[in-house]
Symmetry: C2
Subunit: 210 residues, 2 copies
């Protein structure tokens, strides 16, 4: 089995919630490094990465470019044409590893949903994609669960913090510094980020030292 | 196998980071409801809950009361006396379920560590507790990994968002409302908490309606 791993990706001005810590160019390089980590994990799990972009992106990856649609529109144009199982996985999951991706695509249910922090959906594996459609934004996990159930599809919820942890804002960076092993962690370290413990509260955060 | 599940618990004035949303009495009832959820999960996984408290607490649970020690001191007084495997699990993990606890105690390594959000350690399973000691606060996950490795113990890191999600602050409550199934979710709903999606940002949070 070698299903496509559809990875929505925004090459220009990504991760704006990190703008107070990273310049636009740094955010673009950081997003690209996270994408590399996700691609490495899905490839090791024997999926074929396919980038879903709103503009052409300079890479050797297979790309589907849909310029006039949002995330939902893009994916919902692709799913009905899928002939076999497919994975959708977000590009900002640099803690993804082979084992966690394998648990997703190895489900014995019709659909596997991976919840993201804050009600989101970080990955979806569909054995028969034309029977499903996506509805991202807001509490998408609950929406996706209902869409699957309404379509009579059995649902597996994958219990993984590695796939739950999307890197969106400052508080998330420390997760990557502690649990990451790939290119995006290395890039954060290259930029001077370290893990620091507040002596008073004992709380841990990522601090940029230069 | 029926190992003890040591659960540190603070019955008085717990969860102060939720003080802007919940009164002291509500925080005490909420913490007690979360404890019930954790106890249900560990019991279903065939562990025996043992509460580790700094003061006597009105319950029918087995309790170890250590009044003059902090969390580390309390646990490090108990571990050397343990004759068989033991689990330490935090009381603020209401998303814990039987499957996730089973993955922890079913490890084939000497120690299983469950990372918590922000560098913490939410659960530790030790096959031979006298060989280990705990060092909570700060980036305890990294400290515990090092303690195990220095003691020559093999380490398993359990990849579970259900056990990763400790309920400490406002942003965490929405996780419980979305993924919880037990008493603490019911108590939040009883208090009037609902999931709300910000129309502008699409971000989801828990809002108290009354």
């Amino acid at each position: 089995m070698c299903p496509p791993a559809l990875i929505p990706y925004k090459p220009k001005n990504p991760k704006t919630r990190l703008a107070s810590l990273l310049s636009e160019e740094e955010r673009e390089r950081f997003a690209a490094a996270m994408l590399e980590d996700v691609k490495a994990a899905v490839k090791d799990a024997l999926c074929s990465p396919v980038l879903i972009c709103t503009e052409l992106f300079d890479s050797e990856d297979v790309q589907v470019t849909i310029t006039d649609a949002d995330l939902n529109g893009s994916l919902n144009a692709i799913l009905p044409q899928s002939l076999g199982p497919a994975l959708i996985i977000m590009a900002d999951l640099p803690l993804a590893d082979t084992a966690s991706v394998r648990r997703v695509i190895g489900t014995d249910k019709d659909i596997a949903l991976v919840p993201g922090r804050g009600g989101g959906t970080n990955a979806i594996f569909m054995k028969d994609p034309p029977k499903f459609h996506v509805d991202y934004y807001g509490a998408s996990f609950l929406k996706h669960k209902k869409i699957a159930e309404d379509a009579g599809l059995s649902v597996d919820v994958i219990d993984s913090f590695r796939l739950h942890t999307d890197i969106d804002e400052e508080d998330d960076l420390v997760e990557l510094l502690i649990h990451g092993t790939g290119k995006s962690r290395a890039y954060l370290e290259e930029l001077g980020f370290v893990v620091e413990t507040d002596a008073g509260t004992g709380r841990v955060r990522a601090v940029r030292k230069r």
